[in-house]
Symmetry: C2
Subunit: 156 residues, 2 copies
DNA sequence: TTTAAATCGGACAAATATGTCCTAATAACT
DNA sequence: AGTTATTAGGACATATTTGTCCGATTTAAA
């Protein structure tokens, strides 16, 4: 007899919301570069995400002025050309997940810091700084390049 | 009027379960080095974690033979001295969170790989490898050192 | 001015993670 | 043998994240 024990959780880098957010923003950016405004439906279809949930995430990105939204018929989402290279992954992550990349102890302690660190403090700080640096230095423009060259993908 | 918008999720390295697991294992290891077997109650108290939830996590660590448990009066948890330097953080994470550190796309794609990568594939692989390396190379013994020297902490 | 296509946003529903409670089993001591 | 201190594990409860539904609002075009 086989017993299945439900797994507790995944050590994942990003929340689902954040994953969809990055994918959506990347798709919008690539289409905006061709001066195409895109609808929620199209976005969800192209990045293979749940429509209504994606809508919530786009609202956030819109409120944080990462994407601009246009209501009404022929409306949709777009990003101004000149802003595409200036928008960094970190801004998207911040808009959706908050500052959690930047704060908090790897082992969940309330007051962990360099003076009173948890046992993994230094090692975590190091990796987190690398993640931070990656997010701060990667622009939406960079992500659209591979997409337009047909060497990266947003679904499958 | 202030409107509170609930945050979606945190970009966190580890699940709560995993955080407690690492803290518990570290505490058990440090006490085992002094030949002290420790009870669930004591562990939960020393790492400031919910007792019953910690019990579940210790069951997992026990089943994965990371800690050994002794039932009955004067029972508790312990780790054989000679195994403490051999147990790596990666084993603890694996016992609790499964292989999620090692698999899965940063943007949540089902079939993302070097041939058909998502736009952030390379950058994520790099960071994940660093995390992996850190987990594989950090032993429980290493974590107990600072604790015993009084320069690292498991609660607060 | 009506209609259709779209976003906005609140309320709800489902899934997962986190946490609690209780009973059974085990082992040491009296 | 009985009592007490302990882990094991199932069932349940709560919190959070993820996802859906629907009506209101906006805008362009017929």
């Amino acid at each position: 007899m086989t017993i299945f024990v439900t797994n507790l959780q995944a050590t994942k880098m990003f929340s689902k919301a954040c994953e969809y957010g990055i994918r959506a923003a990347t798709y919008i950016a690539s289409q905006s570069r061709a001066s195409r405004r895109v609808s929620l439906k199209e976005i969800a279809n192209e990045i293979d995400s749940p429509v209504a949930f994606t809508a919530k995430i786009l609202q956030r990105l819109s409120r944080h002025q990462i994407v601009s939204s246009v209501k009404g018929a022929f409306g949709g989402f777009e990003i101004e050309h000149e802003r595409i290279p200036l928008i960094k992954l970190s801004q998207i992550v911040y808009a959706i997940d908050g500052d959690s990349v930047y704060v908090g102890c790897g082992l969940g302690l309330k007051k962990c810091n360099a003076l009173k660190p948890c046992p993994v403090h230094d090692k975590f700080v190091e990796i987190r700084n690398e993640l931070k640096h990656m997010l701060d230095s990667t622009s939406l423009f960079e992500l659209t390049e591979g997409l337009e060259a047909g060497i990266t993908y947003l679904k499958r």
